[in-house]
């Protein structure tokens, strides 16, 4: 049987990926953010993880307004990265867990989450930066990934409760998958964003999220999407990716380690590793 061993939420602002690419993790003002991942590397290094589900929001690469899915699940055999406007990136390839992704797709639709399925998907910095933070050595990366894109860019946006419940349904789907599979979920985005007129770094709210997401997620899911925009900025709704991750971990997971770093670029930077509850 498949099992969900844990999950992690992390910020993904482009400067994090650029810093990794330049190997300058120790030289930047937010170096403690990178050091906080030492505990994550120890944790994932001592476990077998076959598949990473990566939850992120598109950054104007996969989807345009002609066809904007609220929830889009990758079901492809292979994923590559792409040019987001900065120039052609160093090519990366990630094997898709096609068998599990179709099982999740079918389970979600049966559970009345009418997602879009994507037979092709390009990974942007949000998905890849998160993977690189957790598994800096490509050799240790899980064999397979499944990307899930949440619309956090073009309103109407899904509510925090809906995203949390989607995560719960994904957790149920994974746990009902018959083949052996050890699965880890990454939520990539947030937290609060400084955006001039449309957002401010809100340390109090960011810390509230870190303090409650494990044991009292309903404190976050009680907010509307518009209220999250007011609290965390118009791009702070990337927090939805963390709620999907947390929902997938089910009842009574346990925080392993977390870190808050303000600012990273124009955001409240954060990381939290959560261990899934033991399979019942």
């Amino acid at each position: 049987m498949a099992d969900l061993v844990g999950g992690l939420g992390t910020s993904h602002v482009p400067i994090i990926g650029r810093t990794i690419a330049a190997s300058k993790q120790e030289e930047v003002p937010f170096a403690p953010f990178f050091r906080s991942f030492d505990a994550v590397h120890d944790w994932v290094g001592s476990r077998r993880i076959d598949t990473a589900i990566v939850v992120f929001n598109d950054h104007g690469l996969n989807f345009f307004l002609n066809n904007m899915p609220t929830f889009a699940l990758g079901v492809a055999p292979l994923y590559r990265n792409g040019d987001e406007g900065w120039g052609e990136p160093k090519p990366r390839e990630f094997t898709g867990d096609q068998e599990l992704s179709w099982h999740i797709a079918n389970s979600l639709v049966q559970a009345e989450f009418d997602i879009a399925t994507c037979g092709e998907m390009v990974l942007d910095h949000a998905g890849i930066t998160a993977l690189d933070l957790v598994w800096p050595d490509p050799e240790t990366m899980p064999r397979m990934i499944i990307p899930l894109v949440i619309n956090a860019i073009e309103p109407p946006l899904p509510s925090p409760r809906r995203c949390y419940n989607l995560g719960k349904a994904i957790g149920d789907a994974v746990r009902s998958f018959a083949p052996e599979r050890s699965v880890f979920v990454v939520g990539s985005g947030g937290l609060s964003h400084e955006l001039g007129q449309t957002g401010k770094i809100n340390e109090e709210f960011d810390r509230f999220c870190l303090d409650t997401i494990v044991d009292q997620p309903e404190k976050i899911t009680g907010y509307s999407s518009d209220e999250i925009v007011d609290l965390a900025g118009s791009q702070g709704v990337e927090l939805m990716t963390w709620l999907v991750m947390r929902g997938a971990l089910g009842e009574r997971p346990a925080a392993v380690t977390s870190h808050y770093q303000k600012p990273i670029s124009h955001t409240g930077g954060a990381m939290m590793l959560i261990e899934g509850a033991e399979a019942v």
Binding site: G60, D83, G85, I153
Partner: protein
């Protein structure tokens, strides 16, 4: 007033052509064509004078006011313009 991240009809219906143009800037050839002649490129996508002025200004508030979506118009700052080197912040 359009508030990014929140639904309203004005935000949903304004700026489609502008956003569509910005979406093409993921492509290197399109970025080169844009940089070579911004007016011609904007005309090809049917941008209004107001949208065109916002594009040239690279001003976030002006772009939002004409219906620009940040996740698309952020790509404007990634285009290298010889005469405007270093202009605009690239906080992507």
């Amino acid at each position: 007033m359009i508030e990014p991240g929140k639904f309203d009809l004005e935000g949903a219906t304004k700026g489609y052509a502008l956003n569509r143009m910005c979406y093409t800037l993921n492509n290197a050839e399109c970025r080169a064509e844009f940089a070579a002649d911004i007016d011609a490129y904007c005309s090809r996508f049917g941008l209004s004078d107001e949208e065109r002025a916002a594009v040239k200004s690279r001003d976030k508030d002006a772009l939002i006011a004409v219906g620009g979506n940040m996740y698309y118009f952020q790509k404007l700052n990634r285009v290298k313009l010889p005469e405007n080197a270093g202009k605009g912040q690239n906080n992507g």
